[in-house]
Every structure is written in structure tokens, then in C-alpha cells.
């Protein structure tokens, strides 16, 4: 997904780390990883540890980290948009206008990454970066602990107990699409984008599924 960007910028001190939030394990992600033929890091995160550490709620989200290991931009949507919400569910297609707008938004995001690598543009000052961080609440922290326990139970043949923990995690942290969709996927592959998913998306109303980055 990021190979072109990486190839273009790798000689300028740039690295891509792609982390699969994948509780079914690495083998489940392997076909996608092999198809991507990527030469950057492709890591497997069974417990969604990255989501816990960085307070993430969806995929794809990205964090920009500078040469000193400091967060230059906090977690934000990495090039995706809400146009998919208007797609024709029978044919799974979008209008030409929406397709164009979606591509343009993705291109603008990739251009921003290029500008950051080439000139430092778009890196936030410390105060602005701090102000843009989503805050971890005690409920979110508990949700991550329950998610960890739920995945462990699922992996150890205790599906019913695991599902109770995963459901409680989603109740505590309803903004996390990753927790809800991963639990749905563990229940049955495909369920994460099935009818229950679309109902949840519709229930968003005016709220965004992929809030755009404030570039």
C-alpha cells in the first residue's frame, strides 16, 4: 500500500512501518503482505498493542515520527475518506465523482508525507502536537485490558468467555472501530464488513468514520 511512497523517499532517511492489527495472527495477514511485495517493515500485532500505546481507534491511522523519535503528527486517518459510506451496497461501487474525490484526498495525504520528508513541512510544533492528541480515559484503558484478555481467551479455545470480554471492551470504548471489527472478524471472517457493520456506520449520522487529517 505504501511501496511507491517508500521507494520514492527511502534514500532521504525515510522508513515505513506498517502494523497489521490482526488478532487471528500473522498467517491470516500473509496473503496481503506477500501481495504488497513491500520492502519496508510489515509487523504483526495480535494484541493491538499499537492501538493501546498510541490510543488508536481505526485502520488505517498513521503517526509521523521524526529523526529524534518524537511524534511530529499524532494519530490521524492515513489517506482514507468517508466516500465509501455512499457506495451502492448491491454493486459495491461509488459514483465517479466520489471515486475522484477519494483518490484526490489520498493523493493530497501522500503529497503531505512527501513534503514532510523533503522539507519538514506539516510537522507540528510541540504544543500543537500535544493539543491534537486524543486523551486516554480510564474506560479506554480498561477496554484495552479487556481486549487483551478477550483475544487471549479466544486464542486458547475459550471463545464464549473471550467474546464477553471483547463485547465489554467495545461497550467501554465505543469509538474504537478496531475493537468492534476485530471482535466481529474473530467471530466469523467477513462479519467485520457485514450488515452489523453497516448499521453501526449508519448510526454515526453526521459524525465521520474517517476524520480527515488537519493538514
Amino acid at each position: 500500500m505504501w511501496q511507491h511512497l517508500y521507494d520514492e523517499l527511502k534514500d532521504k532517511g525515510f522508513m515505513v512501518v506498517a502494523v497489521a492489527e490482526e488478532s487471528r495472527g500473522g498467517e491470516h495477514a500473509r496473503p496481503w503482505i506477500e501481495q504488497a511485495k513491500s520492502s519496508y517493515w510489515q509487523l504483526i500485532d495480535v494484541d493491538h498493542r499499537l492501538s493501546d500505546l498510541y490510543n488508536l481507534v481505526n485502520v488505517p491511522q498513521a503517526i509521523w515520527i521524526d529523526e529524534q523519535g518524537r511524534i511530529a503528527r499524532p494519530p490521524e486517518t492515513a489517506g482514507s475518506t468517508d466516500h465509501f459510506r455512499r457506495m451502492d451496497l448491491k454493486t459495491r461501487t461509488m459514483s465517479p465523482e466520489d471515486q475522484a474525490a477519494r483518490l484526490a484526498a489520498r493523493q493530497a495525504y501522500l503529497d503531505a508525507v512527501r513534503a514532510w520528508v523533503n522539507t519538514g513541512r506539516h510537522a507540528l510544533a510541540a504544543d500543537a502536537a500535544r493539543a491534537a492528541l486524543p486523551r486516554v480515559t480510564p474506560e479506554i484503558a480498561e477496554a484495552h485490558a479487556r481486549f487483551r484478555l478477550g483475544v487471549w481467551l479466544r486464542t486458547h479455545g475459550r471463545a464464549a468467555e473471550g467474546d464477553r470480554q471483547l463485547a465489554e471492551a467495545s461497550r467501554l470504548h465505543p469509538e474504537s472501530w478496531s475493537m468492534w471489527r476485530q471482535a466481529a472478524d474473530l467471530d466469523e471472517v467477513g462479519k467485520a464488513s457485514g450488515p452489523a457493520f453497516w448499521q453501526r456506520v449508519q448510526a454515526l449520522g453526521d459524525r465521520l468514520y474517517y476524520p480527515p487529517p488537519k493538514l
Binding site: A18, V19, A20, Q68, A126, H144, A145, R146, W152
Partner: protein, 129 residues
């Protein structure tokens, strides 16, 4: 045996009455040492209420709650998860130093974020689902 899941690891301990464990098991599982002044790690000591400390043993659930960390368990209390405290997560992020982690690649090779110091890193998530 009782299983304790931390953010990065899992440990088997001998626990009784919830999560009362020996000082040795406590140190092995969470890296905090029981001392007369409380539970200690590096140069930090957290004083413990008398009710949560016994003769060379400690109520880990009580200690973890005191740190502000979530403590969750199965109904039968055979598996526990001790999560990162919200305050710790927020402090780490607000410091703006990217929280470090080690995760395996598809071939099982462990990769550590901080090994990339000196480069600009685009850290992105995805999923098959």
C-alpha cells in the same frame, strides 16, 4: 497456576484469594519489588496499605489498582490482565517521545521502533478485516 497478562508478556504465578502472590512472582510478572517502604521500581516506591501486603507476599490486584491500572479477570480468576494506566499512557504521549514497542514481522523476526532513530518514520496501521 494463575496466568497474568501484561501489555507485553504473560506469566504463570501461584496466586491465592484473587491475586495474592509471592514477592518473587510479583517481581517476575510486573517488575516491581516488594520492600519495607512499599512496591518499588528503579528509584520509585509506592507505599502500600497494610491490608495489601503480607509476609513476603502482596495483593497484586490492589497494587495495580493503586497505580491506576485496569485489573480484569475471567469469572474463575484463572487469567488476569493488568493494563496500562490511562495516566501513564497520556503522560507518555504528551511527552511526545513516540512510545517504543517491539513486534514480530511475518517471519517472526522482532523489530523495535527505536532502532529507526535518525530516520523519519511513517507508522501506519492496517488490517485484513
Amino acid at each position: 497456576m494463575t496466568k497474568i497478562l501484561t501489555s507485553t508478556a504473560e506469566h504463570e504465578v501461584a496466586a491465592r484469594d484473587g491475586l495474592w502472590v509471592s514477592a518473587t512472582d510479583a517481581e517476575r510478572a510486573i517488575g516491581w519489588t516488594l520492600k519495607p517502604e512499599g512496591m518499588c521500581r528503579a528509584d520509585v516506591c509506592v507505599p502500600m496499605p497494610a491490608a495489601a501486603v503480607g509476609r513476603n507476599e502482596v495483593d497484586l490486584a490492589a497494587f495495580w489498582s493503586k497505580l491506576g491500572g485496569p485489573v480484569v479477570a475471567t469469572d474463575t480468576h484463572d487469567v488476569w490482565a493488568l493494563g496500562g494506566p490511562a495516566s501513564e499512557r497520556n503522560a507518555a504521549l504528551e511527552g511526545l517521545e513516540a512510545p517504543d514497542f517491539t513486534l514480530p514481522d511475518i517471519d517472526g523476526v522482532p523489530r523495535t521502533l527505536s532502532a529507526l532513530r535518525g530516520k523519519k518514520v511513517f507508522l501506519a496501521t492496517w488490517a485484513s478485516w
